[in-house]
């Protein structure tokens, strides 16, 4: 059931990756589209991200990673969510992610992966159409 409150999104930078230009731009774009957005800043552990997500009661988590540790980090976030019994949060990812890594990431519960050059509009639309609550 989709409620009428504004969609709440957490944009997060897991791991040591420091490339946050895209993440910050996305924060602004989502805000401009009417969502409430929280940005974690860089150097977050999956545990910290999940904790923030629960505390802030977000509907969506957007994970950004550009330095190749996504296979270690993204599935950890979804696993921790499951362990906490959170199953109605939409988790999406973005960054420099090789095509062959996308199917296993989806398998691990990341709903969609957005690569370099994705129009901001595409991400906004995806969130609006796929948010689970």
């Amino acid at each position: 059931m989709k409620s009428k409150r504004r969609i709440r999104v957490l944009i997060a930078k897991p791991g040591l990756d420091l490339h946050d230009r895209g993440a910050k731009i996305l924060v602004r774009a989502l805000r401009d589209s009417g969502m409430e957005v929280i940005y974690t800043g860089i150097r977050q552990t999956p545990e910290q991200i999940v904790e923030t997500a629960v505390q802030e009661d977000v509907d969506v988590i957007g994970l950004s990673h550009l330095t190749g540790a996504h296979m270690a980090l993204f599935p950890k976030v979804t696993k921790l969510l499951k362990e906490k019994g959170v199953n109605d949060v939409l988790v999406i990812g973005g960054g420099v992610i090789p095509e062959e890594d996308i199917p296993p990431l989806k398998e691990a519960g990341i709903a969609e992966i957005f690569g370099p050059g994705t129009p901001l509009e595409t991400i906004v639309k995806h969130i609006k159409e796929n948010v689970l609550r």
Binding site: D17, R21, K24, T45, G68, E121
Partner: protein, 559 residues
């Protein structure tokens, strides 16, 4: 540069041209856009004439190459004497694989090395730290201890090759390791050439590999300056970097202003330490991006040289001509590369590299066409290096110094960029200098605003990116990307365990204890870091020791 009567008659002619020729053309063929601007949003006129540079004084503002204010270049003979250093940033997997890549690049005619360290190494974590998981060997080579450094430079003569190291918060210990390797190779430190980035201010503002708060971090920066001055006088002690500011989304002017303002802060810190400005200033170097806008970038480099020379002379009273030189490395702009139609990137890189050369760079890294997808493959790196070699040996642009000097457009832009940069620097001065402007979030906010504006222009199709928002195709060109060996992390952690087991634990403990004591006081830490790295203390152990004394920086994120 022009006498008054000449200008007056040119102005009259211009008015006539506007009425007779231009007006008719505009009526029949309107221009494509209402306003033309550079990538950074600077308005660009239809036609530049002497009237746009009427106050330019040749001797005062341009002069001759190799002389103040160095607008035309820092060497009197430009590239006729010596070409720029071709230096590709590289490092991945483990020390073995990176060593192999360096040797490959040197065989292909590269003339200097540039080491990329992985992120755990850059923020002071060993490869087995929980936060390092998945990151080991990904964005660079892991260096935990002197052992890794021995392997990394195995068979590479440090007395002959100059090495640039992109390392900041952990620069002191990594540099100590590098110098220790030179000693082992029997090379005296005054014969070691290269550059350590050692630019912590831009880490807080744009890049992100800070560890400690600004004050102790500035102390470490200055320790390196002071140590090298006495022991490794041919090593560049800082590479004040605009590259990351630009890549984070700034304009050309912001890149220049924040970089020079940071440079001013480092000079002030070293002077405050009691070092005479002319003793260390010749070893401060710079690093800029080269973005897509050809003339804006060329003008930026020329303005940078002139402005820095003026700052050093007027603000710091430098007397040694070498203190006035803005020597710089350029990397073509990574953020302009597209994952779509990756071969188009070769063309972008070529134009950016050409602008860097026309701007007078001392050293150049050309990006590989596959870098929006992964770390570069060997074939992609070779193509990037060949791009530089083609410019150097085939284009003819190296035959004369500052070939675009005297262009009305380029001189106009050079003046404009210098002027706007100076205004920014004044503003930063009023805030109390770079460190305090950064702590107030000034740089961060300015950069984020510019980045968002640029992105919106792409989204709204006001700015065309070929193959991305125009000339799009579904045809995919298959390219083979580099995969970092998943076992590399495991091998690295095994080696780290072996180093810890085989070293003299007591010696390590003593060396770290001495380091801690020194850190609590005021001494230069470099000698203590040498002691620690030579005992095979790890980067993580050294960083932890300093974390305990200095504390950790907590960033406030500005979106």
């Amino acid at each position: 540069m022009f006498d008054k009567s000449e200008l007056a008659s040119a102005l009259k002619e211009k008015e006539r041209w506007e009425k007779r020729t231009l007006a008719k053309t505009l009526e029949r063929f309107p221009e494509r856009l209402k306003e033309f601007t550079t990538v950074s949003g600077m308005p660009i006129e239809r036609l530049y004439t002497p009237m746009d540079v009427e106050n330019l004084d040749y001797v005062r503002d341009l002069g001759f190459s190799g002389e103040f204010p160095f607008t035309r270049g820092i060497h009197s003979t430009g590239y006729r004497g010596r070409l720029w250093t071709m230096r590709q940033y590289a490092g991945f997997g483990t020390a073995e694989e990176s060593n192999e890549r360096y040797k490959y690049l040197l065989e292909q005619g590269q003339t200097g090395l540039s080491v990329a360290f992985d992120l755990p190494t850059q923020v002071g974590y060993d490869s087995d730290h929980p936060l390092a998981e998945g990151e080991v060997g990904k964005a660079g080579v892991p260096v935990n201890s002197l052992k890794d450094m021995e392997i990394l430079f195995d068979g590479i003569p440090l007395g002959k090759v100059s090495t640039s190291m992109t390392i900041n918060a952990t620069a002191p210990q990594v540099l100590a390791m590098y110098f220790a390797i030179a000693e082992k190779q029997g090379v005296a430190l005054d014969g070691v050439r290269g550059t350590v980035q050692n630019d912590i201010l831009k880490e807080y503002a744009a890049r992100g590999t800070y560890i400690y708060p600004p004050e102790p971090s500035m102390r470490l920066v200055t320790d390196i300056i002071e140590y090298c001055l006495e022991n490794a006088p041919n090593f560049n002690t800082i590479s004040v970097s605009g590259y990351h500011v630009r890549e984070a989304g700034s304009t050309a002017v912001q890149e220049l202003a924040f970089t020079l303002a940071n440079g001013i802060a480092y000079i002030e810190a070293a002077v405050k330490r009691g070092l005479p400005v002319d003793s260390f200033a010749p070893r401060i170097s710079f690093f800029f991006a080269c973005h897509n806008d050809f003339f804006e970038e060329i003008a930026k480099f020329r303005a940078a040289r002139r402005l820095w020379a003026r700052i050093m002379k007027e603000r710091f009273g430098a007397k040694d001509p070498r203190s006035l030189l803005l020597r710089y490395h350029v990397q073509t702009s990574g953020c302009t590369l597209t994952a779509q139609q990756p071969f188009n990137n070769i063309v972008r890189v070529t134009m950016q590299a050409l602008a860097a050369v026309l701007g007078g760079a001392q050293s150049l890294h050309t990006n590989s066409f596959d870098e929006a997808l992964a770390l570069p493959s060997e074939i992609a790196v070779m193509t990037a290096l060949r791009t530089q070699q083609t410019i150097a040996y085939e284009s003819g642009v190296t035959n004369t110094v500052d070939p675009l000097g005297g262009s009305y457009l380029v001189e106009y832009l050079t003046n404009k960029i210098e002027g706007e940069t100076s205004e920014y620097i004044e503003k930063i001065d009023e805030m109390g200098g770079a460190p305090s402007a950064i702590q107030k979030g000034f740089y961060q906010k300015e950069i984020a605003d510019s980045a968002y504006k640029y992105q919106r222009e792409i989204e709204d199709r006001k700015r065309t990116i070929v193959g991305l928002n125009k000339f799009v195709t579904d045809v995919k060109v298959p390219i083979k990307i580099l995969k970092v060996d998943q076992e590399a992390e495991k091998r690295q952690i095994e080696r780290l365990g072996k180093v810890r087991a085989e070293r003299n634990g007591k010696k390590v403990k003593e060396a770290l204890e001495k380091l801690r004591k020194a850190a609590e006081g005021q001494e230069n830490l470099m000698p203590y870091l040498f002691g620690a790295v030579k005992a095979y203390a790890t980067n993580g152990e050294i960083s932890d020791t300093l974390r305990e004394v200095f504390g950790e920086y907590k960033a406030t994120t500005i979106v």
